[in-house]
C-alpha cells in the first residue's frame, strides 16, 4: 500500500521556487532582447562583441547570464522565507520564455537588421 511523506517534512516556502523560475525566464528573455536590439540600437552589436572569433553572441549570452544570476540572487534574497503565488510566478515565467523565443526567431529579429 502506498504511503506518503506528508507528515515527515515541513514545507519549504515557495519564494525560492518562484525566484528560480522567474529569474531563469528573465535570462532567456534578455537573450532574445539583445538579439533583436543589436539590430535596432546602433553600436549595441559592437558593444556586445566581447570576443571577436565568436562575435556578439558572446556579449548577448554573457550579459544575459549576468542579468539572470543577479536577478536570481535579488529575488531569492527577497523571497527566501516567503510563500509566493506559484501560479503567478509560472505565468510570468512562460510569458518571458515565449517573448524570448519570439525575439530569437530569425524572421522576427532580422526585420530590424
Amino acid at each position: 500500500m502506498a504511503t506518503t511523506t506528508s507528515k515527515q517534512t515541513n514545507a519549504a516556502p515557495t519564494g525560492p521556487a518562484a525566484a528560480a523560475m522567474i529569474s531563469s525566464s528573465i535570462g532567456v528573455f534578455f537573450i532574445g532582447f539583445f538579439t533583436t536590439a543589436a539590430g535596432i540600437i546602433p553600436g549595441l552589436g559592437s558593444f556586445l562583441n566581447w570576443w571577436d572569433p565568436a562575435g556578439n553572441l558572446t556579449g548577448k549570452t554573457g550579459l544575459s547570464i549576468i542579468i539572470w544570476l543577479i536577478s536570481w540572487a535579488v529575488m531569492n534574497n527577497k523571497w527566501k522565507n516567503e510563500n509566493y503565488d506559484l501560479g503567478k510566478a509560472f505565468n510570468i515565467t512562460i510569458a518571458l520564455i515565449v517573448l524570448g523565443l519570439l525575439l530569437t526567431f530569425p524572421p522576427i529579429f532580422q526585420i530590424f537588421e
Binding site: T4, M21, G55
Partner: protein, 177 residues
C-alpha cells in the same frame, strides 16, 4: 579512418554531449513524471530522489558544456572569414553557405536561430535542477510545482533539440573541417 582536431570537437560538442544530454533528459523526465506521493511508498520516494537529482543536475551540466564548447570552440571555426579572393570556401562554412543562394537558409535561418536558442537550455535546466535539489521530497506532494518543473524541463530540452537538429543539418550541408 581519422578525425581532424576540428572534427573531433564538432563530434564532442554535437554527438557525445548531445547523447549524454538525451540520456539525462529521458531519465530526469521519467523520474519527475512518476515522482508522486500517490504512486510511491516512503521508501520509493527516498530511493528515487537521488536519481532525479543527479539526472536533472547532469542535464544542466551537460547543457552548459554543450553551449560553451559550441560557442567558444566550434562556432569560431564556423564563422571564420575567408581571406579575400578565396575560391574554395569549403573550410569556411558560414561563407560557403552564404555564397550559395540555394543553401543560404541553413545559415540565415538555421544557424541564426540555433546559436541563440541553444542558450535557453542550460539556464532553464539549471532552474529545474535547483527546484529538485531545493525541494526534494516535497515535490512528490506538491503536484503543481512538480508539473511546473516538468514543463520547464521539457522546454529546456525542446530548445536544445532545435539547436541540435539544426546543428546536425548544417554540419551535413557545410561541415567544420
Amino acid at each position: 579512418m581519422s578525425l581532424s582536431f576540428r572534427e573531433f570537437w564538432a563530434v564532442a560538442h554535437g554527438m557525445t554531449l548531445g547523447a549524454l544530454f538525451l540520456l539525462a533528459f529521458a531519465g530526469g523526465l521519467a523520474g519527475l513524471y512518476s515522482y508522486r506521493a500517490g504512486l510511491l511508498t516512503v521508501d520509493g520516494i527516498r530511493e528515487r530522489l537521488p536519481r532525479i537529482k543527479w539526472g536533472t543536475g547532469l542535464m544542466a551540466v551537460v547543457a552548459w558544456l554543450t553551449v560553451i564548447s559550441g560557442t567558444y570552440i566550434v562556432y569560431p571555426w564556423y564563422r571564420a572569414k575567408a581571406p579575400e579572393g578565396t575560391a574554395d570556401l569549403a573550410a569556411f562554412p558560414r561563407s560557403f553557405l552564404k555564397a550559395n543562394a540555394s543553401i543560404a537558409g541553413w545559415h540565415n535561418f538555421g544557424m541564426e536561430w540555433k546559436e541563440h536558442v541553444a542558450w535557453f537550455a542550460p539556464i532553464l535546466a539549471t532552474a529545474v535542477a535547483y527546484l529538485i535539489w531545493k525541494y526534494g521530497p516535497q515535490l512528490a506532494e506538491n503536484d503543481r510545482l512538480r508539473k511546473m518543473a516538468m514543463i520547464l524541463f521539457v522546454i529546456a530540452f525542446a530548445t536544445a533539440a532545435i539547436a541540435g537538429l539544426f546543428g546536425a543539418l548544417i554540419t551535413k550541408a557545410a561541415p567544420v573541417m
